[in-house]
Amino acid sequence: MNDTSFPFGLPPVPPSAAAGTARITFSGERRDFRRLIMRGAALELVTVGFYRFWLATDMRRHLWSNTAVDGDAAEYTGTAKELLIGFLFALAILAPIYLAYFLIGLEAERLQAFASVPLGLFFFLFAQFAIYRARRYRLTRTVWRGVRFWMTGSGWSYAWRAGLWTLLAIITLGIAMPWAKASLERYKMRHTSYGDLQGRFEGTGGGLFKKVWWLWLLMWLTGILLIPVPFIYAAMRAIEWRWWVSGIRIGEVSFTSDLRNGAFIGLYWKVIGWCALLLSVLGIWIGIAFAIGYVSIGGGTPTEQKFLLAMQQLPVLLMGGFGYIVAALAVGTVIRIYLMRDLWQRVAQSVTVENLTAADNVTAQGELVSALGEGFANSLDVAGF
């Protein structure tokens, strides 16, 4: 820039700041996402849940392709078929493990008490392994400007770290949580790369602790009142997201977030409101089903037995089961709209990317990995989005 073009020799904007700074934008229409989710939930009902692979893929495609960094939208290249195959492989591997778990559990029953704890621990670690591998699958399907993200590292190595840190966090009533999060994030990010740019995480446990300790204290002091909990939790999550975003480095590219502390409070209350509404509707529905069943049993039966019989009647069971499944799908829809899409949008739009020019000439690297990790995560019920 030529200084002489300005009368007083002062440029209107500091030139260094403008060089590599970019925003993240989200262009997805809420209406489109809602339609996608509701159609998906209906199909999940019809296909007894098998549609979840297609729904998950469609959701990711929507979120990824509408999120743009410096005007360039990301792309999700995973397919539902990959997820299905990953799930089937995971089933084949898990079936004998479940069987062994059942038999060992039976033996443990005889010895009583703590004998079954190590088994639960194994499944906890296995879930952490699955979470890590699922993240790896999603990353290798994430493409920006024609180059994919990828990930190395060992799922088991991550799993035992997660196990020990969780144990410590439980023992310290949550005080160690910031350090646990920082350490695990450091492991994940230093094994994450975009093309030939390696990632790292510079956030520290102490840094997070300094920002959330008062909320942690407030949670223990006022948690019993229940009403403050969503406020405190939402603020905690917002602070944590901000901390997370500002800790991420990809090569020399860094990020900042101007997310407000209260950005999620409305979202959490909307979810709570919807869940309360859906639960009451479900309660009324099951009540009606039970009442019909109860009345249809002839007189002369003792009340105790009448209750048991009414609960076992086929129409009552079918009505109750159907109501439960529909309610569960509806809750899932609400959570996906508010806590997935809206939260994603708020976080994405709060981010400023610094020094993006450092990512200007990235060479493609990294191999695709299979969806087996996602399959495990799916069978263990720890799948993210």
């Binding site: 262009s27 199909l43 999940e44 009902l45 019809v46 296909t47 007894v48 849940g49 098998f50 549609y51 979840r52 297609w54 495609r61 392709s65 509408n66 743009a68 939208a73 792309e75 290249t77 089933l91 898990l94 059942f102 033996e107 029953e109 005889r110 493409v143 920006w144 400007r145 024609g146 180059v147 994919r148 093309g195 249809s296 049993i297 002839g298 039966t301 003792p302 105790e304 037995q305 076992q312 009647q313 086929l314 129409p315 069971l317 079918l318 109750g320 089961g321 439960y324 499944i325 569960a328 799908l329 899932g332 990512a359 200007d360 000439n361 990235v362 493609a364 799916n378 069978s379 019920d381």
Partner: protein
């Protein structure tokens, strides 16, 4: 090149993330040119649509590098591309959703077949060969649940207990029971009796109260001994476990899975146990005949306890077959009592009062 045919886009070659401004030419294929040099040429039939934001057309090519992308924002150019590249959406057939639905239903059918035929068959084959120690271990776990449901109070007033033991021993001898057996009276108002895996038999005081003669109770106990001898408890456990294992495994996610397992379990359990109930009835009739007593009182007691069952929805789920069916079965032979009373009048009175505290 004239201004009218100038179609531009952004090209990413799949090797680096460098954005290259290119012009597009529609020749034998889609020629991608950078500063008038053609850097890549994509055959029209290999060009595919990739995921992109709403207003942008993002293209890939099956013959090029997997992540090579061409991004076009100009609507006129997008229209040209759509006209030239006929296979843009190849592989994304509109009937895909219906195919998913159809395959899911096929999977459900196969699971249902397995639960109705596969697992019962496996249970029938497995139950006789599993060692008794395993059955007793399983029974221990079930026993805890029973005690939780019906209370832990057993009735054992001395004279009543003596009568009860005598009754059980007589039935045991007559039935030729080879399995270990442990029978007890539980202090619960529910009129019922049941056998657990591993040979535990519980008679609930509620049933004792409703009974009008020792033969009625003898019939019920003989029926439960039949379950023990046939190892029905183990069979049912294998089936319940197998069914929930199968369904739970397939419905990985929480959405509705547990509800289906719950509903499915009670349905399949009941439908399976009807054959077992019939076999246990036959066993009871046989034992009563061996003791020279008519099995008719058992039927009478069942009707008294459950009332006349005509409600259709009950038939599939009731864990016992319809009482009137069973009554018909028991009264068919109209056997008269040829043997002596199983318990004396005094012993019967003592048994009825087994739960009395003083």
């Amino acid at each position: 090149m004239t201004a009218g045919t100038d179609h531009s886009g952004i090209f990413l070659d799949g090797r680096s993330n460098r954005k290259r401004s290119v012009t597009l030419r529609f020749a034998n294929g889609l020629d991608i040119a950078e500063q008038d040099t053609v850097i890549e040429s994509w055959p029209f039939d290999q060009v595919r649509r990739a995921d992109g934001p709403p207003a942008m057309l993002r293209l890939s090519c099956t013959g090029a590098l997997p992540l090579a992308r061409l991004e076009v924002s100009d609507p006129a150019t997008q229209g040209m591309l759509a006209a030239y590249c006929r296979s843009l959406d190849a592989g994304k057939s509109p009937g895909q959703t219906w195919r998913i639905v159809a395959w899911s239903l096929a999977a459900v059918c196969s699971i249902l077949l397995l639960t109705f035929f596969g697992i019962p068959l496996a249970a029938d084959r497995l139950a006789p060969v599993l060692p008794l120690s395993i059955e007793q271990r399983l029974g221990g776990a079930v026993d805890k649940q029973v005690k939780f449901l019906f209370g832990d109070k057993t009735c054992s007033r001395a004279d009543g207990q003596a009568a009860f033991t005598k009754l059980v021993d007589k039935l045991k001898d007559a039935g030729g029971i080879t399995m270990p057996l442990e029978a007890q009276v539980l202090s619960s108002k529910t009129p019922n009796a049941f056998a657990l895996p591993g040979g535990k038999v519980y008679l609930l005081a509620g049933l004792l109260r409703k009974a009008e003669s020792a033969d009625e109770i003898a019939g019920v106990l003989a029926h439960e001994l039949g379950h023990v001898q046939h190892r029905d408890g183990l069979r049912r456990l294998i089936q319940t476990g197998g069914t929930s294992f199968l369904i739970g495994l397939l419905f990985g996610d929480v959405t509705g899975g547990s509800a289906v397992v719950f509903a499915g379990r009670s349905l399949f359990d009941a439908s399976y146990s009807r054959d077992q109930e019939r076999a246990a009835d036959a066993f009871a009739i046989d034992v009563m005949h061996k003791l020279g007593r008519s099995p008719k009182p058992l039927g009478a007691l069942l009707v008294r306890v459950t009332g006349k069952e005509e409600n259709k929805s009950m038939t599939l789920l009731a864990s016992h077959p319809m009482s009137e069916d069973r009554l018909a079965l028991m009264s068919k032979d109209l056997g008269v009592n040829t043997g002596p009373e199983i318990l004396t009048a005094a012993e019967w009175r003592a048994l009825k009062g087994i739960c009395a505290t003083r």
